[in-house]
């Protein structure tokens, strides 16, 4: 038997919102290679040390752009996010001179939906 894995990825473009002196995106991240992967409630594979979206503020730029809680961020503006520390991830997302961030995310619910449609 073969295992065919589909990675369903979605591209999300978030425009940062200016709040005073900061540019905010409106979500929280968790994970990283220096964190404990077994505590991640969103990952299917408990050894996955990738960056996951843990909270999305209601009405913020991320929710508007379509980011959902539990998404795993694969790339930010072309930079890989699967093998970074937590702090590196934060820095990549909060660069002062970028107003727009383009994320490549993958979502479990997406995967499950496709699998179900394939089986039926």
């Amino acid at each position: 038997s073969y295992l065919i894995s589909f990675s369903f990825q979605q591209r999300i473009e978030i425009h940062k919102l200016r709040q005073g002196d900061n540019l905010i995106l409106g979500f929280s991240i968790g994970g990283g290679i220096d964190q404990d992967p077994t505590q991640n409630p969103f990952s299917e594979d408990k050894t996955d040390k990738g960056i996951y979206v843990t909270r999305v503020t209601a009405g913020g730029p991320a929710e508007v752009a379509g980011l959902q809680i539990g998404d795993k961020i694969m790339q930010v503006n072309g930079w890989d996010m699967t093998m970074v520390t937590h702090d590196q991830a934060r820095k990549r997302l909060t660069k002062r001179n970028e107003e727009v961030v383009r994320l490549l995310v993958t979502r479990q619910s997406l995967q499950k939906a496709v699998q179900q449609s394939m089986m039926s």
Binding site: I24, L25, F27, G30, Q35, Q39, N40, T54, R55, T94
Partner: protein
Amino acid sequence: KIEPLKVTVDFLKVPLGLKKPPLKEALAALPGKPKSHILERHKPRRSDAMDNESQYSGYSYKSGHSRSSRKHRDRRERHRSKSREGTRGDKSVTIQAPGEPLLDNESTRGDERDDNWGETTTVVTGTSEHSISHDDLTRITKDMEDSAHLDCSRHLGVALGVALALLAFLTPLAFLLLPQLLWREELEPCGTPCEGLFISVAFKLLILLLGSWALFFRRPKAFFPRVFVFRALLMVLVFLLVVSYWLFYGVRILDSRDRNYRGVVQFAVSLVDALLFVHYLAVVLLELRQLQPQFTLKAVRSADGASRFYNVGHLSIQRAAVWILENYYHDFPVYNPALLNLPKSVLSKKMSGFKVYSLGEENSTNNSTGQSRAVIAAAARRRDNSHNEFYYEEAEHERRVRKRRARLVVAVEEAFTHIKRLQEEDQKNPREIMDPREAAQAIFASMARAMQKYLRTTKQQPYHTMESILQHLEFCITHDMTPKAFLERYLTAGPTIQYHKDRWLAKQWTLVSEEPVTNGLKDGVVFVLKRQDFSLVVSTKKIPFFKLSEEFVDPKSHKFIMRLQSETSV
């Protein structure tokens, strides 16, 4: 030529415990079983050898130069090399070239030892019985071939020491008494200070007496080959001190007839003080200096590789050797020659390829040499599988030992349930009450066979005679020991000092060293302590210098965080 072969065949015919003789006889014959008649044949030669040893056993310093010792050593070397491939351990047949002894004094030391072996080894020398004091005072000469002369010099050393001690002890008294005797009328009266000084002199002399007895004149624990350098130095120092005091006394006091008696008494007191300080110096040099560890000595037994490490302080090589020996007797497991070699079955496969029989036929020599060369070459090409056999042989032996051990433990446990200590409330008639010896004999019979078999399998049977087992059993019963405590002695090979004195405690050792034995220990010094069967190789290493630095840890600095997923909002 036929005789050695016949003797070999004879001993194979003797029953090896397969039929069941009455138990007591079997066990009595345990140590000296099948080879006993062969031993008798060779006993005269062995006792000669032992007598030769006893002659120079008085000194434990190797001399390569004496005729008799060299001759004996050569003979021993020859015998030892022959006995290696001879009859060690198992009862296998070896066909020897004619004219050579079948069993010499070295190989019989293997398994069954003669019960009378202890009598023919002369362990105690003349000096150790008679001399009651010094081991290592001033030696005048070191003539090794003349043991009588050696005793003389030991006694001379003792005599010198005693004389010097008496001189040093009586000098202050003489200092005090001579003015009184010679010019009493002219002396000024002294009064209270003098009396105080008299008392102090008396007590200091008493302490000096006890102290020097404790330090110098007790029975020595070993005979050293060379002069004990520190003691000699101290004796010289004391001598110089006393002589210089006498000089001053003679010139200043006797000649001029000093009238100040208090001065004289103070002079005497100062001598006693000086002697006490010399005694203090002696305590430090002889007792204290060696206590602080400076070196680590590694002692390895050459026969089977048993090794231990010891920490010692500054010592001379000869003193370090005695220290090692004291620890050897209670640390090292007893030397068991039966356990040394690989079993015959492992090695013989190799040898069976080219066993050469020389039966003295001249005309076939050419053929045999040609044949043997071919056989040797063939054997060399054959693949060597002896490690396999060794492995399986060891596993099999292990299994056998464990089975016998299990039987022994069960038998002993059961035997111990048959007796119990008499309580006051038990009403028994006097005929049934036994003393420990009888109780031991009563329960011994049920465990004897299992014990014998176990000792046989672990090759320990020369070390335990039936009498010794009975005595140990009696001892354990008297002290209410459990079966496990009784068995502790037999299940593991204990240190040498545990076994019966006559057999295993040999007091003479030979110290072999490249440096003079009165030199102090240094890093890298190696010396060897030799006995007839084996030797202890001792090497020295200096204990490293430790650089200890300090690090202060604030108790409040111990802080921790949970390793959870941190969440950062962006």
